[in-house]
């Protein structure tokens, strides 16, 4: 198992380096003049030139890249044109919010999606199945930001059940930066409930698409299992229906579904951008959107790299889980 992990990590590295090169070079070809924009219309030519020098923009691209990478590993992720801080610090401040949101959304998607898929497959063509299939269809097609807005209108404005925007109003001590986790650990129950209230709507808006996808896939995989020889064989051995469905079929179906969960997490991260915008969630996505307006190229590179790493790690975890569940992987 250890060799497997090491092997996969080694595979990840060149890809991530490639990504860093790609995104870095893209940002250095911008036609716009970010520095001019950041310094404002009153900036003089000397000020602009000085800033460009400070940011190393006059060096050749290759040198810039190496300097950047060197700085990366030392915690210096470049100077943010907008916040005037080290991008690294900015990311540390905003990452936990996004991570918390996407992880909660993923959990909701799996915890609700898998059982729905199983039930849907077992009661094929009955009303539970029809209902789930409609849900599956619309869930996948729904624009997340639009869903978020609709949820806001109905539950926050009209019914006033949940807050409209933001992460939380009650103070709490920050340990990991994830409010739900921190408030639980410090036994700050009012803060926990408050954070829960704030996270519910955005998490639902974010998770619906993934939930629908997982549900559809689980259903399809379960149905596919019905045609498998080994399932027919287990029937022929006189095994009870519960064992066949919930043990023999489910494990295989879930293993197949697992393969897309890494990818699904990627879509969640991408869509987090939209949901954060709608709900004013102070995460990396917000940071990114602001970065766009200011053409803050260092921030954009930073965000892209962080997301790249998170995505790669998520896929790695999925692969490890998968090889744990399905013994055939080790032999390929």
């Amino acid at each position: 198992m250890k060799e497997f992990i090491i092997k996969r990590v080694l595979q990840m590295v060149p890809v991530l380096i490639g990504l860093s090169i790609l995104i870095f070079f893209l940002t250095r070809i911008i036609p716009g003049d970010a520095v001019r924009l950041a310094l404002g219309p009153q900036a003089t030519e000397e000020q602009i030139a000085a800033m460009q020098e400070k940011l190393g923009l006059n060096d050749s691209i290759i040198i810039q890249y190496f300097n950047y990478m060197k700085g990366l590993f030392q915690g210096d992720w470049g100077y943010s044109l907008r916040t005037s801080r080290n991008v690294f610090d900015d990311l540390i401040a905003t990452f936990p919010a996004t991570f918390e949101l996407t992880t909660v959304a993923l959990l909701i998607a799996i915890i609700l999606g898998v059982p729905l898929g199983v039930i849907s497959a077992i009661r094929k063509d009955k009303w539970a199945d029809q209902f789930s299939r409609i849900f599956g269809l619309t869930g996948v097609a729904m624009p997340r930001f639009w869903l978020g807005i609709m949820l806001q209108i109905v539950f926050a404005y009209w019914l006033s059940l949940f807050p409209i925007i933001g992460r939380g109003d009650i103070e709490l001590t920050t340990i990991t930066g994830m409010r739900l986790f921190d408030s639980l650990i410090t036994l700050n129950i009012p803060a926990f409930i408050d954070s829960l209230k704030h996270i519910i709507l955005p998490a639902i808006a974010l998770s619906v698409g993934a939930m629908a996808q997982i549900m559809r896939l689980t259903r399809a995989n379960m149905l596919e299992q019905l045609n498998k020889d080994y399932i027919l064989a287990s029937k022929a051995y006189g095994l009870p229906r519960n064992t066949i469905v919930y043990k023999y079929m489910l494990k295989n179906a879930f293993t197949s579904t697992l393969t897309i969960i890494g990818l699904t997490y990627g879509f969640l991260i991408g869509n987090a951008f939209l949901v954060e915008a709608v709900f004013g969630w102070p995460g990396m996505a917000q940071y990114g959107i602001q970065a766009v307006i200011y053409q803050d190229f260092n921030a954009i590179v930073g965000i892209t790299l962080v997301i790249g790493v998170v995505f790669a790690v998520a896929n790695l975890i999925v692969d490890i889980l998968y090889s744990y569940l399905d013994p055939r992987i080790k032999y390929q």
Partner: protein, 303 residues
């Protein structure tokens, strides 16, 4: 002796393939007709396409699509004059939604076209030549896929001037590796088939094999995937529009319309709601159609 047998089997296979093509289409149509959901998808997609084509004719207020401003009818709720209401500068939402179909569809087709233009040859080459070329191409594809598509498109679009063209390029940027992966996989599985091996054995030129034998077999998976992806790309395009990247106002892009209408919630709910419903509708249509096509072609591929 062996060569003669191989040549015969190639000729027979070609004939079999040809004969299959003729009755294949008829069989596919029959099978499609039997699935009500795919027919619904086909109807929706046709409807959306027609909506896009005939927008100038059907839209009640075609001038509202460009820079018109009507101070006298700002943010009016749905009525008989304006079926879907008016937006914050008094423009008819129905007309703008209809024109929005044009933009989203055009975006989708161009992005798919570009991605296929880039991705198909790369996948073909990677799968067929194999070896180091395959590794290099697939690694490059992996790099583009190492970040979620929306994020990459976002980053690319963010770095250039936000116009419709930019996001089309940005989306193609993040989409072509999927096409390459699909094609490469198809090529690899077809490469092992007997009649291809036989062709190689005889010494037919690699280009000829690639184009005459492998390519036609890749087409149906590409069509299925493109139809399924269309919905997704429309969603991504609208998402970028919502974030402020892409079409500048006053272009009636669905995502941008939602962003603009958002400021007037919750009272003027129609401005943000209807464009969203349009997106939902279109994407469902393409998904249903894509599912139907996949069922049809999958069965064929098994045969």
């Amino acid at each position: 002796m062996k060569e003669v047998i191989i040549i015969e089997s190639i000729a027979k296979n070609e004939k079999v393939v040809e004969k299959q093509n003729v009755s294949e289409w008829r069989k596919s149509w029959r099978r499609m007709r039997r699935s009500p959901l795919s027919m619904v998808g086909l109807i929706i997609v046709t409807f959306v396409i027609l909506m896009a084509i005939f927008a100038p004719v059907v839209a009640p207020y075609p001038d509202d699509v460009s820079g018109a401003i009507h101070f006298d009818r700002m943010l009016e709720p749905p009525s008989s004059e304006h079926l879907l209401g008016t937006d914050e500068v008094g423009r008819d939402i129905l007309s703008r939604v209809l024109y929005g179909a044009r933009i989203s569809l055009m975006l989708g087709f161009i992005v798919l076209g570009l991605s296929t233009l880039i991705g198909l040859p790369l996948g073909l080459i990677a799968g067929f030549w194999g070896g180091r070329i395959n590794t290099i191409i697939m690694r490059i594809a992996d790099i583009f896929l190492s970040v979620p598509s929306l994020v990459l498109a976002f980053a690319v679009a963010a770095l250039f001037q936000p116009t419709l063209t930019t996001i089309m390029i940005a989306l193609s940027f993040s989409w072509w590796p999927w096409v390459t992966r699909l094609v490469q996989g198809e090529v690899l599985s077809i490469k092992g088939e007997q009649f291809v091996q036989a062709s190689i054995g005889i010494g037919a030129s690699k280009w000829r094999i690639a184009f005459k034998e492998i390519l036609p077999n890749c087409i149906s998976p590409i069509i299925v995937k493109s139809t399924l992806d269309m919905g997704f790309i429309i969603l991504m395009g609208a998402s970028l529009g919502f974030l402020g990247l892409g079409a500048e106002p006053p272009t009636p892009e669905w995502g941008t319309m939602i962003a603009e209408g958002r400021a007037y919630l919750p009272e003027a709910w129609w401005a943000a709601t209807f464009p969203g419903l349009a997106i939902l509708f279109a994407v469902i249509g393409f998904n249903l159609l894509g599912d139907g096509l996949r069922d049809v072609f999958d069965v064929q591929m098994d045969e």
